[in-house]
Amino acid sequence: MESVFGLVGKDFAIVVADSSAVHSILLHKTNEDKIMLLDSHKLMGASGETGDRAQFTEYIQKNVALYQFRNGIPLTTAAAANFTRGELATALRKNPYMVNIILAGYDKETGPSLYFIDYIASLHKLDKAAFGYGSYFALSMMDRHYQRDMTVEEAVNLVDKVIMEIRSRLVVAPPNFVIKIVDKDGAREYAWRESIKDAPVIAS
C-alpha cells in the first residue's frame, strides 16, 4: 500500500511519496511520480487506486490552471484544498474517488501550509500528515522528531529517518521514494531516494 507523507518547515513544506507502481503481486515500475505540481507553488501528493489517483490529480491540476486563466490570479493553498475537498465530497455518494491527498503549498501572505484530505473528503490543516501503511511509522517518527520552524536540512534529515524506518520495518516496503519541496521560489523536485534502479529504456 502506498506511502505518502508531508511536513511543514520554516517557509517551506515537503511532501514525500513512494514511487512503486504495484498491481497485485507485480511491481510494474519503481519510478512512478505520485506528487503532482498543481501550479507554481502547490504540491499534491496522492495515494490510492492508481487510475483514480492519476485522473483526479490531473483534474484538479487543470481546474487550478483554469481558475488562474479566468481570474488572472492563482488560487491560495486553502482555496485549492477546499476545492479538492468539494470535488471529492460531491463524488462521494455517486462514484467515489479512492484517493488520499496531502496538499502542500506556499502563499506569499500566509507562508507554507499542508492539508490532509481523506478519500471520503475529510479536510484538515496540519503541520505533519501521512497516509498508507507507512503512516504508522511516519507519524510516530515525526511525532518524536518534528519541531516547528525546521530548516530544510533538518526536515530532510527527518524525512530520511522516516524512509529508513519504512524500509526496515514494513514487510512490503517500497524501494524508492521521491521528495518534493515547495517554498517562496516555487514547487520542485528535491531528491529521489532509490535503493533499486529501473533498467534504462533503450530508444529504438
Binding site: 475537498r85 490532509f116 481523506d118 471520503i120 475529510s122 484538515h124 500528515a129 504508522y136
Partner: protein, 204 residues
C-alpha cells in the same frame, strides 16, 4: 466498520441560568489512528447560536457548509439572525431530505432564543429532534456523557459553575472512550459575552 465511529467525537450542551455551554472533544481520527488533536466540531452560526456536529467528519464539514449558506441567505432576506428553534427545524429538514442516503452526523444545537432564554436540542442523523431542558449529548462517548451529565447537572447554574460542570462531565466521559478525547473545547455563552476555552485532559 461502523460509520458513526469512523472518526470519533464527543459533544455535550448544557443549560444554565440565562446562559448555555456547549463542549466537544478535539480528536480527529481514522479508526484507530489519530490524525489531529485540534479538530473543530463546534461551529458558530451567529453570536447566540452554536452547532456541534458529531459523527463522520466529512459529512459534518459538508453539513456545516450547507447550514452556513442557508443561514447567510436567511440573514440577507430577513435582515436578522435565525432563532435557535427555527435553526433546529432547518437542520432537521435538511437531514430528512437525505432520508434514504443520510448524512452520518448527529448535531447538537445550542442557542439563546427570545428574551435570551437558553435553547438546546439534539437530533439523530435523519432529523428527529430531541428537545431537552437540561442537557443533550452526542458522539461515540454519548453513553458515558449521559451518565456523567445526569449525576453532575443541577438546574440554574451560573456561567462559571456551568463551565466547571460541563468540563468535568466531558473529560470524565471521553476518558472512557478510546475514539474521543485529546482535550476539550468549551464555549460558554451568556447574553453579553461568549467565552471560549480549551481544556487539557488526558492526551491519549
Amino acid at each position: 466498520m461502523q460509520i458513526f465511529e469512523y472518526n470519533g467525537s464527543a459533544l455535550v450542551a448544557m443549560v444554565g441560568k440565562n446562559c448555555f455551554a456547549i463542549a466537544s472533544d478535539r480528536r480527529l481520527g481514522v479508526q484507530l489512528q489519530t490524525i489531529a488533536t485540534d479538530f473543530q466540531k463546534i461551529y458558530k452560526i451567529h453570536e447566540k447560536l452554536f452547532i456541534g456536529l458529531s459523527g463522520l467528519a466529512t459529512d459534518a464539514q459538508t453539513l456545516y457548509q450547507r447550514l452556513v449558506f442557508r443561514h447567510k441567505l436567511y440573514q440577507l432576506r430577513e435582515e436578522r439572525d435565525m432563532k435557535p428553534e427555527t435553526f433546529a427545524s432547518l437542520v432537521s429538514a435538511i437531514l430528512y431530505e437525505k432520508r434514504f442516503g443520510p448524512y452520518f452526523c448527529q448535531p447538537v444545537i445550542a442557542g439563546l432564543g427570545d428574551e435570551d432564554k437558553p435553547f438546546i436540542c439534539t437530533m439523530d442523523s435523519i432529523g428527529a429532534k430531541e428537545l431537552a431542558k437540561d442537557f443533550v449529548v452526542a458522539g461515540t462517548a454519548s453513553e458515558s456523557l449521559y451518565g456523567a451529565c445526569e449525576s453532575m447537572f443541577k438546574p440554574d447554574m451560573d456561567a462559571e459553575e456551568l463551565f466547571e460542570t460541563i468540563s468535568q462531565a466531558l473529560l470524565s466521559s471521553v476518558d472512557r472512550d478510546c475514539l474521543s478525547g485529546w482535550g476539550g473545547h468549551v464555549y460558554v455563552v451568556t447574553p453579553t459575552e461568549v467565552t471560549e476555552r480549551i481544556l487539557k485532559g488526558r492526551m491519549d
